[in-house]
Symmetry: C2
Subunit: 248 residues, 2 copies
């Protein structure tokens, strides 16, 4: 197994049975956001699932453990992350279940293996940093005119919608300060917000993470779930967070 | 004072100093939503303020006590509520500070006394019931096509925007299940969501009320405030709710 490791890398156990992950301290390491998203998603048996911006594959790995999805894809544009993701799949002996695609999300539908409307669920933990790119079309331009440009976020939401079958599920984790952008873009691309969950560090603090479930062409009616608190007032993980790592 | 009362009516003390309110049990009585909204709003000295859908004037009454607004208006279309609101103003001796206008919100700018762009703050606790009315224009139609029609909510948000000066403040209380509609409509009418607060019955329950502060032509960046809990686990009002009724 050690031959899978490169200079400066380590192997971490990440809960979820025996799943392990190759990480490198100086690079981006996965955070609780990815775990929250992967455990928030309700994936049906035999579903075809894709994770946009998968990094080193943490979300596909957790889904392979927690769900009976028949095919799990991950898309990552950065070479370093993609390559480490491939080794994570080998390390966990999951190449029969998980396929990684190295590709910009915007170019995904140009890939021969990827067809629009062919996925039952799309997940994404997109980059949170705002990006000053161009606007995609006039309607969008109208909606976010005089506001920030949201090219990055809009790419993820637009592609998710294109990839999903009708009534397919979209799951996203993001930051509360982008809530207005998220709602506007989901509506614009026919992903109707159906369930939202706010995650706070503890019971006395404002939420700092949003978990959102949309349904393509869903009927409008947004259900708020109970808030999720990560830490107790004593600073330990709450029972609910600890339970996430157990087999469902 | 009793001459201000009609058959079946009573006078309630409502906190906020000596404020009193004429109510009639079989009609709509004010709820905690109005109190939450009136205390959430941060109104500057000498501001011109208007409350859309004011009912019997509960929000203008609280604002007259809590703020140094120079002019406070309330708009109500229903004759019964409007007329009782007039008597509430007399009862509390506030006719120098509060003006009620009997008018449909959609027709407000036809009133001689009301000019667009002339208000520093607009508040609204609109009807929560969905309404199957017509759509207002093509862009809106596009955004809410295949979704519910939101004519009532869109009227309140659109008129609020027209009434506000640039950088003016919009404060709304509503239900979480309309969050997507609210975000889309606020963006559409240039009211940028800046602060949001979720109100839950208690710490273990999902939010059932949203308090939203938008700024006309504001820069996009939505701040989440700490959640507000109405009751303790023992079923009493929380300290924060009790404190709302005190002079700030």
């Amino acid at each position: 197994m050690d031959s899978l490791l490169k200079d400066g890398e380590r192997i971490d156990s990440i809960g979820f049975g025996n799943l392990r992950l190759i990480q490198k301290s100086e690079d981006f390491c996965y955070g609780i956001d990815a775990v929250l998203l992967a455990t928030f998603a309700d994936i049906n048996k035999s579903a075809r699932v894709i994770d946009l911006g998968t990094g080193t594959g943490i979300i596909p790995l957790i889904l392979s453990y927690r769900t009976q999805a028949s095919e799990i894809f991950g898309v990552e544009v950065q070479e370093n992350s993609y390559e480490r993701g491939l080794r994570n799949i080998l390390l966990n002996d999951l190449k029969e279940r998980i396929t990684l695609i190295r590709c910009d999300v915007k170019d995904l539908l140009k890939e021969q293996s990827v067809k629009s409307g062919s996925f039952d669920a799309v997940l994404t933990n997109p980059p949170y940093v705002k990006y000053g790119g161009g606007l995609k079309n006039k309607t969008e331009s109208r909606m976010i005119a005089r506001h920030e440009t949201t090219a990055e976020l809009s790419d993820f939401i637009k592609e998710a919608s294109l990839l999903l079958r009708e009534k397919g599920d979209f799951y996203m984790v993001h930051r509360p300060n982008r809530l207005a952008d998220i709602m506007v873009l989901c509506r614009l691309y026919d992903l109707e917000p159906k369930r939202i969950r706010f995650v706070s560090p503890n019971k006395d603090s404002a939420p700092n993470i949003i978990l959102l479930h949309c349904v393509k062409y869903g009927r409008p009616d947004l259900k708020f779930l109970n808030p999720l608190y990560v830490y107790t007032v004593e600073g330990n993980y709450t029972d609910e967070i600890n339970a996430l790592y157990e087999r469902p």
